[in-house]
Symmetry: none
Subunit: 220 residues, 2 copies
């Protein structure tokens, strides 16, 4: 290995996908992949033992997710350089990742050049965000998704909670001792205030903002 070689740790739970990272990165002179991990815990362990110059990490992994892995590694080494490379084209995830200590966020839909460029930038000490996420962030700044807890009155929030949990408009009306009409009006008003067009979007927003938790749905 030459003196200037930068060492890299790859983290992704899909081995065939890691093969892709490796293939792309090792075509680049000066980069060397020295280790691979399939989940966050293993990544943390390998970071401590291998001390790579850079970590390229996926977010959705079994066990502790990528965000938590980023946090732990940064807790152990304040100077750790971590580049998040994920399928999630979502500004929210990017914000969370950067806050957790990631130095870059690139989506998997990006062409290989973008990944390589981001790797180089992060190694050089810069922050690297892929163009699509930059765009998303700009959009969210402009039309900014309103936090439900922020824009809704207590009553509206309560109705929203019940809509997500209970069944029908009538049941909610009975629970709150108001007319079904009022519930319907509030339902409409809530969607308006949150800027969503359908109940499906409403559920998605609620999950995104942690108002509904996946465990509450009885799922896997």
């Amino acid at each position: 290995m030459s003196a200037g070689d930068a060492t890299i740790l790859l983290v992704d739970d899909h081995s065939v996908v890691r093969e892709g990272y490796r293939s792309v990165l090792e075509k680049q002179p000066g980069l060397r992949v020295i280790a691979e991990a399939a989940d966050g815990t293993e990544a943390y362990r390998l970071y401590k033992s291998e001390a790579p110059d850079l970590v390229v990490m996926d977010l959705s992994m079994p066990g502790i997710g990528g965000i938590e892995a980023v946090r732990r590694i940064r807790q152990w080494d304040k100077g750790a350089k971590i580049l998040v490379f994920t399928m999630h084209e979502n500004a929210g995830f990017a914000v969370q990742a950067i806050r957790a200590g990631a130095r870059g966020y690139v989506t998997k839909t990006s062409p290989p050049e973008t990944l390589v460029r981001a790797v180089m930038d992060v190694l050089a000490g810069k922050i690297a965000i892929s163009p699509d996420i930059d765009h998303e962030l700009a959009l969210s700044r402009i039309s900014g998704e309103s936090s439900a807890a922020d824009v809704l009155t207590p009553r509206e929030f309560e109705v929203m909670r019940l809509l997500l949990a209970e069944n029908t408009t009538e049941e909610i009306a009975a629970t709150l001792h108001v007319s079904p009409k009022t519930v319907a009006n509030l339902h409409s008003l809530i969607k308006d205030k949150l800027g969503v067009n359908s109940d499906i979007e409403l559920v998605r927003l609620a999950l995104r903002q942690g108002i509904l938790t996946p465990v509450d749905l009885g799922g896997t």
Copy 2:
């Protein structure tokens, strides 16, 4: 090209991931990757022009999803050999993919050997299912609980997927090239078949059955 070379078309919207497929598959003598597509429509077009012996296809892609792409390709060529290679470790998707005409279903968490083995099996005319999905299928058979994939026709399942992911009825109609009215009818029929009364319940059921993953709810 040698007489025994099998030609392969790769379909995945993540270029770096395709690099992984390619790297793994081309290490295998007798396999040759002749084309790559980034979405279902392109896959269909390339299949017709390149006539590969095998298609290795992801499921979650922009535009028409992988399931629909499988259906279209099989409609055009009844003998098409398509191996689905996806991150979804969910029996429901597997059932739908096989019904749509896929000859194999392998998850991305599988080691490269499993993918290679499945490719060989499908080329040899066998049906290839990765062990983890076999297990899932066995479990779902035991629990006897009727899943969405069970009671819905392929088309209905596809519309449901789009309803959960996309936005409006009109957009889905445009994507599938059918009338908005048809989508609305299917929407209603789906809720009827699954025994839910609202879109909110529909989302909850989808989450419970792993058709939607909580972490994936970010997308715009």
